[in-house]
Symmetry: C2
Subunit: 245 residues, 2 copies
DNA sequence: GAGTGGTCTAGACCACTAG
DNA sequence: TAGTGGTCTAGACCACTCC
């Protein structure tokens, strides 16, 4: 392939899409080593430079991991990898935090109109609702209420959720082939609702951070919706934008 | 330059630093067109490909703007450019917002220990403290208290601040050669302090979002510290992380 | 028509890992 | 020692802008 016709998208975007397709299909699975760059170039009939551009983009999007002299692998949600990017909290002393999860409840419900809209499912469809508490350095700090479409997580059990190894997104990935690749959050300050107050040990007028998060897998498909309530006198939400020199 | 000695940093990082140096020195100013890629290649004695890599990095960091067939220019904080990246608020309907600033007070003070530490200056050094309100769609929504080291903003007057064209960062840039290239924020939920309550029209127990922001220029130098208080029943803080397909 | 950044190719050497 | 991604070069054509 020596040229491209005008009005086409760049060739490396096509290559990028082809790689994403293989990931979506499960042809290359999380943790797998994908073919080397010369192999990919041959496979897609483009030059190595073009493959490299496509892979670079996917690396910067944290879908792939490139390691010199070892190879390129598909990202997983296992501990210690870059998917902790999705957890941007720190304590007030910039020190390490001990985080312990505690499952509060695990139920099946039918979607009402509002939640259905958030998850892109019809009202009346079956959902899981999971209440999950996190203790930071021993103190109950973060309350998560998570909604999942049952259709995408068939056979998920309370036991499986509670006794997962690693993060929640790691569970989605290893058991349901659902890799979370993007999140979108809206942050606001509210007075803690009662069900949160009780768990976090707060008074009626105490403010909490409320984070409404949509989590997406490949193809911009919403997989999870969650409301997170945080006692920010213990743990702060961090954000950084711009140049790092 | 055909090879690089081992243990060196990559050549394109060197080129990137050389470009940043010219920006820091003011040799290329915000809004300027910088030399073309072949010219840069000649200037730094590297190949065009290496220059392109360095420029690509600076573009993704929003320091430079590349436009095909026109040239590469230095970012400015003017309206409508990408530095609105630093303003991640939306209203609750995802519609356009009308934002009007209103200066509340403009004072000179001496740094106490705490603020001094935040700004990297000694206690007792002269600072500006500026209280600035923002009305969104006519409603007072956002209260900013801004600290600036007077040393870096000599001759800044209330009149100049109040009658600036464009954003505050645009003022820093055009009048003081201070380009903000990175911000770091800590977000928490608190009960509005009285001076905020009065301006935002809130009750004593109403929660607000508090955002503590450090703003940096080239060389990782803190230029501004501000505390922002937001009534999130009007305007939400947005954040997005990960893959965009 | 000259010049620009956008895209793409082809091929080189490097440092290091794995076997 | 073979193979990998990391880096770097040289040069090509493209679509479009500006003069």
């Amino acid at each position: 392939m020596n040229k491209r016709s005008s009005l086409d998208q760049p060739l490396y975007n096509t290559v990028r899409s082809l790689i994403l397709l293989k990931l979506r299909n499960g042809e290359w699975k999380p943790g797998d080593k994908i073919p080397t760059e010369p192999e990919l170039a041959k496979l897609f009939s483009v030059s190595v430079g073009t493959v490299r551009k496509a892979v670079e983009d996917l690396v910067s999007e944290q879908v792939l991991i490139r390691r010199a002299r070892i190879g390129t692998t598909v990202s997983t949600h296992e501990k210690y990898n870059q998917f902790s990017t999705f957890f941007n909290f720190s304590n007030r002393f910039d020190s390490e935090m001990l985080i312990e999860p505690k499952l509060l409840s695990f139920k099946k419900i039918l979607a009402n109109k509002e939640i259905g809209k958030s998850l892109g499912v019809k009202g009346g469809e079956a959902l899981f609702v999971i209440d999950n508490l996190r203790l930071i350095d021993g103190k109950p700090t973060m309350f998560d209420r998570i909604w999942l479409p049952q259709r995408k997580f068939t056979q998920l059990t309370q036991n499986e959720f509670e006794n997962r190894k690693g993060s929640i997104y790691s569970l989605y990935q290893s058991q349901f082939m659902m890799t979370i690749v993007r999140i979108n959050e809206q942050v606001e300050a509210i007075q803690a609702p009662e069900f949160v107050r009780l768990e976090l040990g707060l008074k009626k007028t105490d403010p909490v951070l409320k984070i409404s998060r949509y989590a997406y897998t490949y193809g911009d498909e919403v997989v999870e919706y969650r409301n997170r309530y945080v006692n920010t006198s213990i743990s702060l939400y961090q954000n950084e934008i711009g140049l790092r020199e």
